[in-house]
Amino acid sequence: MNYDLNTEQKMLKDSARKFFSKEADSIFIREMAKDEKGYSKAIWKKMAKLDWMGILIPEEYEGSEMGLLDMVVLLNEMGYACFTGPFVPTAVLGVTTLLEGADDKQKKSILPKIALGKKIVTLAWTEESGQYTSKGVNAKAEVKDDSYVISGTKLYVPDANNADIIICAARTDSSSENSEDGISLFIVDAQNDGLNVEVLKTIQGDKLCEVSLNNVKVPKENLVGEEGKGWDILKKVLLKAAVAKSAEMIGGGRKVLEMTVDYAKQRNQFGQPIGSFQAIQHHCADMLTYLETSEYMTYQAAWLISEGLSYEKEASMAKAWVSDSYHKLVALGHQVIGGVGFMEEFDIQLYLRQSKTAELAFGDADFHRELVAQELGL
């Protein structure tokens, strides 16, 4: 076992830390939450120049082919900065879906553009129920001539408002008793007729969208993978995205712990720093424990994925554990910081919001515990 990042990963981590602290301070984060698009094209271009979009993309498609562990290193820093925007939808969700399911032609046409920062992609999976289940997919896609025609409403689609391409899950066959059969994935041009995107307002101000599809025509060659077999792809994407989301959470958690401990050292009450009171010390110790266990769980899952080993159980364990832990960590941080932390201008609140949306994204703790139970043979 080896708990350390390698030299390249450490460099990536350092440069990401510097990048975000320079480009995206907490004032910027607040602006983006209110901003219609929620991201800055200028920063996007800089990120592309750093080759971050292509971390998961094989070299043949212009990526750097580094793997999910490296992506996790970067996302950790993104979470530390509370940075949002279309990066994860594009470089994780979009790329992973295409890598798992797309044919060479599709990959060639999209992945290099992603790697160069020229295309923003997202995945439209969940619908009204908000559930990452096969039963939750009810949009319909019917064959008509050389096209599929898709209708339905996808919800909670991250950054669809910014996307050039929306990979959309829809049902091509409803006849099977097993709801996992009959789901297909389509590469949909966001400019397509009949497609409408509306941003939903969330507690974090990240851009989750409603994507309405009203007889949207998609050429047959835009089918990703086999018709009706989309669920096999989605299952893998879910777990990888869950690990990516865990990485953002451990980054946020690290920042919250730092803020909290700094405050506890500086704030005096009753003639001494509040950090000298046992109750505060124990809150901080609990936060530290939540954080370090979360880090280990996340890195382990990411490493397993990067190595091509079996990762299902560990990925779900990570998302379940990190979701719960981050929630508790932030609550303790607020409790230590007290009234000041309740104010909009203190940064911990940004992380309170982040923790809630991250908890819900790609399956919450209960959801992933159920997957763990399945992996245990229950």
């Binding site: 969940t126 009204e128 129920s129 908000g130 559930q131 289940t133 039963k135 939750g136 919800l155 909670y156 509306e198 939903l200 307002k201 969330t202 507690i203 974090q204 989750l208 409603e210 005096n268 009450q269 009753f270 003639g271 509040i274 009171f277 109750a279 505060i280 929630h327 609550a331 607020h334 409790q335 007290g338 009234g339 932390g341 309740f342 104010m343 909009e344 201008e345 609140q349 309170l352 809630k356 949306t357 819900l360 919450d364 209960d366």
Partner: protein, 388 residues
């Protein structure tokens, strides 16, 4: 023992309920929500004057001061109903300062303030916290110097929630600058439009407003000193004993909305009410709300028997505030993705109430004495454990 209200109590409370139903408008409820349920908004003031005309704002006060001489039990019941129904329910003058004025202030102050308070005509803003005086109230540094006819006040307050809508400041100030800290505080009633007072907004993560209040050579007439000089800390502590109650009707209502949601919602073709996990979560919340209710009314029962709750009030406060956070989190778990949407989102669950309260409840375990301070009180006063 007896765990129901009397017929007389039920009668009064149904009148209160009736009145609120008739008189509260959507606009009032909106204003109240936007003001985080404090008193002082335009519609709130109008409503409360009518409400208070029935004696319901300070029902436990003597009739001469505009009360009804009613039991604490009824007072608590009315407060519960006020919180439940979404009308303004956070009052400084009526529910914090009033009792102290009645007990310690000069006749002149009593005459000037008590009736207008109980009639809902004027409101105070709590003026305790300062940048260096949070949990440790004795750290407060705002100075009031005796200048013969008046006190000259200089310094800064923070987290003074009602200041932007209230008429007066219920101000704790240091009047003695040497000697033991707890023997140098005094209480004042200060016009908030006095020259030299500046009020600056502080915005919370629940979009609510509280304030910093700056005093720059503010002259406060001597007659506005409450009780004796340098006895302020005693008054503060006594007031906390008498006044500390934490009604939670708004959380009861929030729970009811959650329960309705669970009964009505179908996910992936299954009613979520059938899900054993959700059943357990909802039942647990209901159980804790029941326990909170019993704690809440135990305080009024004690008061009616002439006993002063102290650790019991800390217990009720802590229990309810913890519960509010569990309720917000559990509700979010049950609502799933829809829970994160704000009230103005088309797909928001339960009108975004949980998204809002998820942010609000952060402060519950902090203000009015943190959980940590309350637990110290329970241990030391309730169980006689020694101070460190």
């Amino acid at each position: 023992m007896d765990f129901v209200f009397t017929k007389e109590e039920e009668k009064v409370i149904s009148e209160v309920r009736e009145f609120i139903k008739k008189e509260s408008t959507p606009e009032l409820l909106k204003e109240t929500h936007e003001l985080e349920r404090i008193y002082g908004g335009k519609l709130g003031r109008e409503f409360i004057k009518k409400f208070a005309a029935n004696g319901w704002l300070c029902p436990n006060w003597p009739e001469e001061y505009g009360g009804l001489n009613m039991s604490e039990m009824l007072t608590y019941m009315i407060k519960d109903e006020m919180t439940y129904s979404g009308i303004p329910h956070s009052y400084v003058a009526a529910h914090y300062a009033g009792a102290t004025i009645m007990k310690y202030a000069s006749d002149e102050i009593k005459e000037e303030f008590l009736l207008p308070i109980s009639k809902g005509e004027i409101e105070f803003a709590l003026g305790y916290s300062e940048p260096s005086a949070g949990s440790d109230l004795l750290g407060l540094e705002l100075r009031a110097e005796d200048k013969g006819d008046y006190y000259l006040v200089n310094g800064q307050k923070t987290f003074n929630t009602h200041a932007h809508v209230a008429d007066y400041h219920w101000l704790a100030a240091r009047t003695k600058f040497d000697g033991p800290k707890h023997k140098g505080l005094s209480m004042f009633i200060v016009d908030l439009d006095s020259p030299g007072i500046t009020i600056r907004p502080m915005i919370s993560i629940a979009d609510s407003r509280t304030n910093e209040v700056y005093y720059d050579n503010v002259k406060v007439p001597k007659k506005r000193l409450v009780g004796e000089e340098n006895m302020g800390f005693l008054y503060l502590m006594k007031a906390l004993d008498y006044e500390r109650m934490f009604p939670f009707g708004h959380y009861r209502k929030l729970f009811e909305h959650l329960l309705e949601y669970v009964k009505e919602t179908i996910v992936d073709g299954e009613p979520i009410a059938k899900n054993p996990l959700i059943r357990q979560k909802v039942a647990q919340l209901a159980t804790e709300l029941e326990a909170a209710k019993l704690l809440y009314y135990s305080l009024s029962y004690m008061l009616d028997k002439g006993k002063i709750p102290n650790y019991q009030a800390s217990m009720e406060k802590t229990f309810v505030c913890d519960l509010s956070q569990k309720l917000a989190q559990t509700g979010m778990e049950i609502l799933g993705q829809a829970g994160q949407l704000t009230s103005d989102s088309k797909w928001a669950a339960i009108s975004g109430e949980f998204e809002y309260y998820y942010r609000w409840v952060i402060v519950e375990t902090i203000y009015g004495g943190t959980n940590e301070i309350q637990k110290n009180i329970m241990a030391q006063r309730g169980l006689g454990l020694p101070r460190a």
